[in-house]
């Protein structure tokens, strides 16, 4: 029984930390954007403006929870829940440290891919249920973008799987004792990261939201904490992609012994989260046709080629 209690404690603890990280990222993102754009950013509430997090959250809670009369009520409520639940479930397989992992599935990577493919529904159903033209367009674009980039998202990870011979993230991290897989799989890493940005529809791939043309796209009609759910889902998605990248390509918790493993994992993940924000600060948004053609015509063949080359080299080196 104490084992079950232990599970519950670890799970609740991890989710608590993750949600706090997601909230904290609101402040981090605004401060970092301000830094890179030579502004101050939120600096009034509390030390360094940190209390802006609390203010934002409370504001969202006290907004009117509006379900439009023209919307499809049930689907409208389910859509924002889907993205948060699917992203939170994905965190179950991430090895934060040797002792901190909710479950070590032997199909860990496939579990992650399955959960991220369920995230599409949040967008397509949210946009459809809103019964708003902007939302519908945003949902269509978003769904097409996500499914296009999903095709080679899984495929780009297969190089790592070939090297380690396992879908389990723990085994993959342990296989990187000598050298990080980013050295052996640079192409796979870059493609996975691009696909990850497209999956979380962050800038520069935020075409489903595109404030300037679609006025927030699929979540135009959402308010209060339902909108907050999409927001949390996005920040959790950034954290998820960053931590998966760290676990698969940058050695996870492995690092010199002067810091504990969890600290190494956190530092590397924080680096990638900052990189996400830097991308937002520095890149323009591509046109939709460019985005789709780039995905299908360049990244997909490149991923296949990467797989074949990796396979060829491994076989060549393994020859007696």
């Amino acid at each position: 029984m104490s084992e079950t209690l232990n599970y519950w404690l670890v799970i609740v603890g991890i989710l608590f930390v993750l949600l706090n990280i997601a909230a904290f990222l609101i402040w981090v993102e605004r401060r970092m954007l301000a830094l890179w754009q030579d502004r101050l950013g939120p600096n009034r509430a509390g030390p360094f403006g940190l209390l802006i997090i609390l203010a934002d959250t409370l504001k969202l809670f006290f907004k009117e929870d509006w379900i439009p009369p023209f919307a499809d009520r049930h689907v409208f409520v389910i859509a924002p829940a889907v993205i948060v639940i699917s992203v939170l479930l994905s965190f179950a397989i991430i090895p934060f440290a040797p002792a901190i992992q909710i479950v070590d599935l032997n199909i860990g990577l496939l579990f992650f891919l399955g959960m991220s493919s369920l995230g599409v529904y949040s967008i397509v159903l949210g946009g459809w249920a809103s019964n708003n033209k902007y939302s519908l367009l945003g949902a269509l674009r978003g769904a097409s973008q996500m499914i296009s980039y999903e095709v080679f998202m899984g495929l780009s990870l297969m190089g790592v799987v070939m090297l380690s011979g396992s879908f389990s993230l723990r085994t993959i991290v342990e296989a990187q004792k000598d050298y990080w897989f980013v050295l052996l799989q640079p192409v796979g890493f870059v493609i996975f990261f691009i696909a990850g940005i497209a999956e979380t529809h962050r800038l520069p791939f935020d075409i489903p939201e595109a404030e300037s043309e679609l006025v927030a796209g699929f979540h135009s009609e959402y308010s209060g904490m339902k909108f907050g759910m999409f927001f949390i889902g996005e920040y959790l998605g950034i954290t998820l992609i960053s931590s998966i990248t760290v676990a698969l390509f940058f050695g996870g918790w492995l690092g010199p012994a002067f810091l504990p493993p969890l600290a190494w994992f956190a530092i590397k993940t924080a680096g990638f989260i900052l990189f996400f924000i830097l991308l937002r600060a520095s890149l323009p948004r591509p046109r939709y046709d460019q985005l789709m053609e780039y995905g299908w015509k360049i990244l997909l063949p490149l991923t296949l080629l990467n797989l074949l080359v990796t396979g060829g080299i491994i076989l060549f080196l393994n020859q007696p």
């Binding site: 599970y7 799970i11 609740v12 989710l15 969202l60 809670f61 006290f62 907004k63 009117e64 929870d65 509006w66 439009p68 023209f70 924002p80 829940a81 948060v84 639940i85 479930l89 965190f91 179950a92 909710i102 479950v103 599935l105 496939l110 809103s130 019964n131 708003n132 033209k133 902007y134 519908l136 097409s144 499914i147 296009s148 095709v151 899984g154 495929l155 297969m158 190089g159 799987v161 070939m162 011979g165 879908f167 006025v215 009609e221 209060g224 904490m225 907050g228 759910m229 939709y288 046709d289 053609e293 299908w296 015509k297 997909l300 063949p301 296949l304 396979g311 491994i314 076989l315 393994n318």
Partner: protein
């Protein structure tokens, strides 16, 4: 009657996590529903269209292009799925497995080249 024996691997944590995640979402959405004010004004009763009067409704048939992307996604996803078990067991399958996968990829690429030549992926 078939009686199932418990599996050695424990998947229960995933179920626990699912319940915790659902619990969080339900509590948050209920809280905002109960706390927030309720004011019905006539402006809110129509979909947002940048302040311009609403024309028609959003139940428009969409472009067939998106549908084509969805079909190609399903087809390529099935092809990709065949590569997952190959990749995980790559070393044991060896050169023979590599050749088999090479043949498989050639079929995939033939279809891929065809759709590119036909311009099915061009967005006008």
């Amino acid at each position: 009657m078939l009686l199932l024996e418990q599996l050695p691997v424990n998947y229960a944590p995933v179920a626990f996590q699912f319940f915790v995640a659902v619990g969080f979402v339900v509590v948050t959405m209920l809280a905002t529903h109960l706390i927030g004010p309720k004011r019905k004004t006539s402006d809110k009763l129509t979909p947002f269209e940048s302040g311009v009067e609403v024309q028609g409704n959003a139940r428009h048939p969409m472009s067939v292009k998106y549908f084509l992307v969805a079909i190609l996604f399903v087809l390529f996803d099935v092809e990709v799925i065949f590569m997952y078990p190959w990749a995980v067991n790559f070393r044991e399958l060896g050169i023979l497995g590599m050749l088999e996968m090479f043949t498989f990829m050639i079929f995939l690429l033939l279809g891929f080249i065809y759709i590119i030549k036909k311009g099915a992926l061009n967005w006008e």
